[in-house]
Structures are given as C-alpha cells and as structure tokens.
C-alpha cells in the first residue's frame, strides 16, 4: 500500500435499529477494532458502534502512535507481540494505507541499575517472542547518530535495549481503516450518539439508553476511554481506574531523517519523527486526576529540557502544537479486558497511555470472547477479577515514562 493507491474512505450511515446482536460503546480504536474483527473473523455483523462525538476523536486521535511489544512481563509481551504482528498485515487486509513504518525503538539506560533493568527486559522479550537486544553505546550511535552519548554530561548513556519491531502508524488512518472494514461488512456506526444509561433486566444488561432512543442487544461492550468510570457505575461496577491527562507536542520540521524512536525511563520522555518530519515528544501523565483537556506550559518546559540533554539538535526547533488526552490509568499499568461479573456487559479499559499499540490484538481477542463466550488465553490474565484474586500484573515496561 502507498499514497498513490488511495481511495476515499467509504462509510455508510444507517438509521439506528431497535435491536442488535452486539452494541459497542465507544467508537475509538478498540471499539472499531472489535467490530472489525467480529465482522471479518466471526461473521457477526449485526453490530452497532456508538460514539458520543466522532469516531477516533478521543485518545485514538491523540496518542503518539508508537507500536511496540517490549514490555516487562510475559503475559504482556505475548499480547503486544500479537498486536505488532497484526499491525504489519493490517494494510493488506483492509486495503488502506495506514502509514505503518517499522523504525525500531531505543530504550536508554543511564545508570547501572537501568542497565540491569534493560538487560532483563531484553531477555524477557526474547523469551516470549519480541525481538529486543541490548546494545552498547557504540551501536546506539550507529542506529541514531544524533544522540549525545554523554547526556549533557549529566545523563551518560551506558547502553540501551533496541526493539527491532518498534513502529509507528497514522492513528486516524488506523481508525478509518477499521471503521470502513467493519462498515462494509454491515456494522452500523452511530456518531453523535451518547449513551445516557444502561438498560438492565434483573442483573443483566440488555441494552443502552442513548440520545437517539433505546437500543437492545445480547452483549453490550464498553470500549470507552477516560470517562469509563461513569459508564461502569451505570452497570453497578466499581473500577480500579483513575483518569489522568496526558500531554504531547510536536515541533516544526526537522530537515534530517531521525529514524528510530528514542525513549528514556530515567529522563521521562520519548521522541519520534512523524511522516511530515515533525519531532513528536511525549512525557509522563499529569500527576493529578482530571478530565480536563487543558494543556500547560509546565510540561513543554520540563520535557523539552530533558529531551535536549540527550538530543541536543532539538534545541533549534520550535514547538508547533500541543494537545492533551484523558487516560484511564489502572493501578498496575496493565489493561483490563473481558467479562465483568455483570451478565451481558463486557469491558475493555485501563488502556492508559498504551492503548494505540494494542488496538488490533485487543479488538481481535474481545471479538473472540464475544463470539465464543470464552475468554481467550491471551487476555485471561488481564481480567478485572485479578485485583480481588491478588494476581495484579504490575508492568514496569508498560508505559515508557513512569
């Protein structure tokens, strides 16, 4: 696929029906991907995706588009590796150019402790199918010549892990490709349709009350980001989720090619180059929970300062745009997927700052769960009852920066 084979995205808008087999709340990456895999793999097409605003307008349109599988725990490495593999074939499958580009990720270590941690990461990754190697400073310089290995004299680079299959893709295009793929197989997508309440019959969720009237379904799935706590409350659930804002920004055009994605856990930032040549920077979540989309100068100042210690060329660039998304953070930095204990109500949440890379695998496994009523082994460790069962999946490699 490339830009010369492009056709307009064809989406058909249907009138809402009274009943569906499956209703998916949230028309972001995970919701659309679940609909897509339901339709394409399981032939379940009587599906509605409900979106409060417009599809891919939440965190699916605000993330920093990194695709990787270099996580810290076996279950996560396995799951995200499936996603990395699915992303590679998504272009051919949907016949849409999603601008998928394999770049490789360098994950810096600035201390002996970090070297040990990164070595461990490489070994766990290798053992569970992700291609990650520990590289020396000399090799880092070959992969990314722009790096100042002395780290401004304060953060010397002592090594890094290099994740070969690290990639980026255009987030909007991923959403549209999945939406179109689901739509042409008969899935209804309803934009500007907010869910006001869940309709319950006894203990079972049987439908949703929306701004365009009630709709009934056998299965209702929540793929809501950020505002998920309010929705779960309608089903009588309490979630281990706290909503934090996450900010990111891009600079103006950098003339040279900056190939890999560079991240540093100690310096708390990651940087990559977009297809337009802009440098895309992101850092940690805001410490206080909030649903506000307000961005601030505080982050730009701190993050730029840290990024420049490692990549001095950034100081010559100017910041063009900044934006914020609200992330549903789980306490162990792992997602929450699967059955909820409420009949007829499934959930996929806790995607925090690592949701984009999981879009195909998350959707594929949730679709399998809906189609077969059996939780696939791949996502069984991430069920919501892991908190009550003392099986939390604390993952230090989950988010790049905290």
């Amino acid at each position: 696929m490339n830009e010369f084979q492009e056709k307009k995205v064809k989406l058909k808008w249907y009138e809402p029906k009274k009943t569906y087999d499956v209703i998916i709340i949230g028309g972001g990456g995970h919701g659309l991907s679940t609909a897509y895999y339901l339709a394409s793999r399981h032939n379940i097409t009587n599906v509605a995706v409900l979106e409060r605003k417009y599809i891919g307008g939440g965190n699916s349109g605000r993330n920093t588009t990194v695709i990787r599988a270099n996580y810290g725990i076996p279950e996560a490495v396995r799951f995200y590796q499936q996603s990395v593999d699915l992303y590679k074939t998504l272009e051919d499958e949907t016949e849409r150019w999603i601008m998928h580009k394999q770049k490789g990720i360098l994950w810096m270590a600035h201390s002996e402790a970090a070297v040990r941690q990164e070595t461990a990461r490489a070994k766990v990754n290798r053992a569970f199918g992700a291609k990650t190697d520990f590289v020396t400073p000399k090799e880092i310089k070959e992969i990314c010549p722009q790096i100042d290995l002395s780290g401004g004299g304060v953060w010397p680079v002592m090594g890094a892990t290099y994740h070969h299959e690290g990639a980026t893709a255009r987030h909007d295009r991923v959403n549209w490709a999945l939406a179109e793929g689901a739509n042409k197989r008969g899935v209804h997508i309803h934009q500007r349709t907010a869910v006001i309440d869940l309709i319950k019959k006894g203990d079972r969720v049987v439908g949703v009350q929306t701004t365009s009237g009630p709709m009934y379904a056998n299965v209702v799935m929540s793929a809501v980001g950020g505002h998920v706590t309010g929705l779960a409350k309608m089903a009588g659930l309490r979630l281990p989720i706290r909503t934090h804002p996450l900010q990111a920004y891009v600079t103006n055009h950098y003339e040279l090619k900056f190939n890999p994605i560079v991240a540093s856990t100690s310096l708390l930032f990651y940087v990559s180059q977009t297809a337009r040549g802009e440098m895309l920077l992101g850092a940690e979540i805001d410490r206080q929970p909030s649903y506000s989309y307000r961005s601030g100068h505080h982050l730009i100042q701190n993050c730029s300062f840290r990024a420049i210690t490692l990549l001095p060329f950034l100081r010559k660039l100017r910041i063009l745009r900044q934006w914020t998304g609200v992330c549903d953070m789980s306490p162990d930095y792992s997602p929450i997927m699967g059955k909820t204990g409420v009949d007829g109500f499934l959930i996929t949440t806790g995607w925090g700052t690592w949701g984009f890379k999981a879009i195909p695998a998350g959707g594929k496994n949730m679709a399998e769960l809906i189609a077969t009523c059996k939780t696939p082994d791949m996502i069984a460790p991430f069920s919501i009852d892991r908190f009550a069962n003392d099986r939390t999946k604390a993952d230090r490699g989950s988010a790049g920066t905290h």
């Binding site: 309490r238 979630l239 281990p240 989720i241 909503t243 929970p289 909030s290 649903y291 506000s292 908190f387």
Partner: protein, 80 residues
C-alpha cells in the same frame, strides 16, 4: 490545571510545589470485610465533578491542604 493553589499557611503558590494525594473512601454499602479491603486497595471513585482531595505542600509548609476541585474543569471551589 489552574496553576496556583492558595495554601492557608503560605498563600498562593504554583502547583509544582504540591504533591497530589487522594482521600480514599469506600462506599457505605460495601460491608463485607474482604470486599472492603479490595475496594480500599484498588477501586477508585474517579469522580467527574467536584471532589475533596488532599494536596501535600512539599516545597512549602509541608502540611496537607484540602481542596474541593472540579475534575472536569480544574476549578478549585473551596480550600479547607
């Protein structure tokens, strides 16, 4: 985030001087001791609206300040 919090002891100070702390509360309807523990350890109110929260004035008077903050807009309604 509004960029300043008025500390009752120190006056208006930038937000970076404070550390956020939550006031965990288990809903009254949870009476089973095991469920209470799980809720206390993991579950969040995650209120979208005004909530009471604690901020520790780390780089100031090192005392706790209680705020009523609207999490949807970041407006601080009341300071205790």
């Amino acid at each position: 985030m509004s960029l300043q919090i008025t500390c009752p002891h120190c006056g208006r100070r930038p937000i970076e001087e404070y550390v956020y702390g939550e006031v965990p509360m288990v809903p009254e309807e949870i009476t089973d001791p095991d469920e209470w523990d799980i809720d206390r350890a993991f579950m969040m109110h995650n209120t979208e609206g005004v909530q009471r929260e604690a901020w520790f004035h780390l780089y100031g008077c090192r005392r706790w300040v209680y705020l009523h903050r609207d999490t949807a807009t970041n407006q601080i309604e009341k300071i205790e």
